[in-house]
Amino acid sequence: MILRGRAHRFDDDINTDYIISSKYKAQTLRIEDAAKHLMEDIDPGFADRIAPGDIIVAGRNFGCGSSREAAPRVIKAAGIAAVVAASFARIFFRNSINIGLPVLACDTRDIGSGDEIEVDLASGQVRNLSTGASKAVQPLPKVMMNVIADGGLVQHIRKHGTYRLD
């Protein structure tokens, strides 16, 4: 599967409070409503600038902080097709895989806002169409590939009754 979209560049250490402010966490706001507040505290108006299929590109430690699964859900609901970062915080990474948001760890230093990015999920490549550069993605453990193949963790457990490690 190949995803293609425009990059929105963020720095290192984008935490889950930035992704969706904790002040919205207590609300029973639907995820679709919360998506309007994506990155609001650090980049007001960001949600309005997203075209469906756009890609978030970031530095190190994307998704650090709380365990809130609302973070990847809000990113997905806002129309973002994938997140590409130099590295991810582990709970965010697991949550993303579990809910079907593609997250890819690779060198992102030469990707800037506005670049056209192509993500090849099958071969594990991230290509910057604006510069021609191509980076290999860190491979996932088999169990995560299985969860992705089943369409998320809910479907994975429904299907197998447990985790399939191999």
Binding site: K25, T28, D41, R60, G65, S67, I91, N98, V154, I157
Partner: protein
């Protein structure tokens, strides 16, 4: 069998195989817990998975710690969670009982060597008593609720050895901040930290919880401390025969060893907006403080509150400073009442929060600062907007630094201020 780290040891026992760092295991969970703060709720994900019941009603606990009903919507979530607990026959700690990471160890729900999974990042707190405790999101939690198992990658371990002894005015929180400074906000990602050395040996359980609580702030999956007499004395009355010793093997393999000379450590403060933006408190002495929070799952246990009370006794917080005190659990609150700590704090000007997360996350609708205000807090996170206002500035510090700073209306180094 190879010499094992604490993580390798516990995850070997929980997966029924001799495992080492890097292995992927399916492990049996001893205790799982969730709170009222996350969307979606794990119980809704459980239903979507087609599972009618929690795998073991003795091993899953709900704690209503995040929101003491700031809105009708939250009240209605609480009603649903209480109904779920009744239907499933599971234990629920209700509003005011305290923060999950504080209440559950206090009430003896976990023992050394246990695998503990919480749907909150600060689940790592219980690593202080030798449990492999780590946080997950709602859907992972639902899978645990359905199966009693979780897949985990056995983490590599960073050994942090803390040598020497604390100087006057310096304590566990300062050490936790120093570790964050040294490792950085992603310095332990996917890894475990084992804390050891003379300083840890001589530290009480409260200080150990404070340190393990911040493992997640450097990205760690768990922050573990081997058991010893301190652990046993605190835990045995709570868990009885479930108490056991856990420690790493001699010769276990560590990804990195960090040595810290605690004897030279000064009181520390993490400046906005990152936890690893750590400097000496003394270097911030001109920074005005508008609000001080002593609370959260990090550093507000009874010893912390008592220390703040010793500093505040017979005095008043500076004019214009709001001092918020949130005991992290009902037990801490009742201890604080019994010891006269609470009246001292209130007489000094403290505003009290409901035992729980009030004063830590803005969603609690409590202690939200105004734009431009500086907040000094004993919490573990100073992200922009964390307390509900992205235009405020959060500084993390110890209870002693918090108390002195509340009196002065500016950041004070307790090492300099203590008589």
């Amino acid at each position: 069998m190879h010499a094992q780290t604490l993580s390798e040891k516990i995850l070997s026992a929980k997966s029924g195989a001799s495992v080492r760092a890097g292995d992927i295991v399916l492990a049996s969970v001893d205790l799982a817990y969730s709170h009222d703060g996350n969307r979606p709720l794990a119980m809704d994900q459980l239903a979507e998975m087609g599972a009618a019941r929690v795998w073991d009603r003795e091993r899953y606990i709900l704690v209503l710690d995040h929101y003491p009903s700031p809105s009708q919507a939250v009240a209605s979530t609480h009603t649903r969670l209480r109904a779920f607990a009744r239907e499933q026959g599971i234990r629920l700690y209700d509003v005011g009982d305290g923060i999950s990471h504080v209440v559950l160890p206090e009430k003896g729900h976990m023992a050394p060597g246990d695998l503990v999974i919480g749907s909150d990042s600060h689940t790592c707190t219980s690593g202080a008593l030798g449990a492999f405790a780590t946080g997950v999101g709602s859907t992972d939690m639902a899978a645990v609720m359905a199966t009693g198992k979780i897949w985990l990658r056995v983490p590599e371990t960073i050994l942090v050895q803390c040598h020497g002894a604390f100087r006057r005015g310096v304590g566990a929180k300062d050490l936790a901040l120093e570790i964050a400074r040294i490792l950085g906000a992603d310095g332990a990602t996917y890894q475990t930290i084992e804390y050891a050395g003379a300083v840890i040996d001589n530290l009480g359980m409260e200080g150990r919880f404070t340190i393990a609580n911040m493992a997640i702030e450097v990205g760690a999956k768990a922050g573990l401390i081997a058991t010893d007499e301190v652990t046993r004395a605190w835990l045995e009355p709570r868990v009885g025969s479930r108490y056991r010793q856990v420690k790493a093997d001699e010769g276990a393999s560590y990804a990195r060893v960090v040595d810290i000379d605690v004897g030279v450590l000064r009181p520390k403060v993490a400046r906005p907006h990152n936890v690893d933006n750590v400097v000496d408190a003394a270097s911030l002495r001109d920074v005005p403080v508008h609000q001080v929070v002593i609370g959260t799952c990090n550093a507000a246990r009874i010893g912390d509150l008592a220390e703040a009370a010793r500093i505040l006794r017979g005095r008043k917080v500076a004019p214009g400073v709001k001092l918020v005190v949130t005991p992290p659990s009902r037990d801490v609150l009742t201890d604080a009442i019994a010891q006269g700590v609470l009246s001292t704090l209130v007489e000094a000007g403290a505003v009290l929060g409901v035992p729980g997360c009030s004063g830590c996350v803005g969603g609690c609708n409590f202690a939200i600062p105004d734009a431009g205000q500086n907040v000094l807090t004993t919490a573990n996170r100073n992200f922009k907007g964390r307390l509900g206002n992205p235009d405020a500035f959060l500084y993390l510090a110890s209870p002693a630094t918090a108390a002195y700073s509340a009196l002065a209306g500016r950041i004070v180094d307790p090492h300099e201020a203590m008589p």
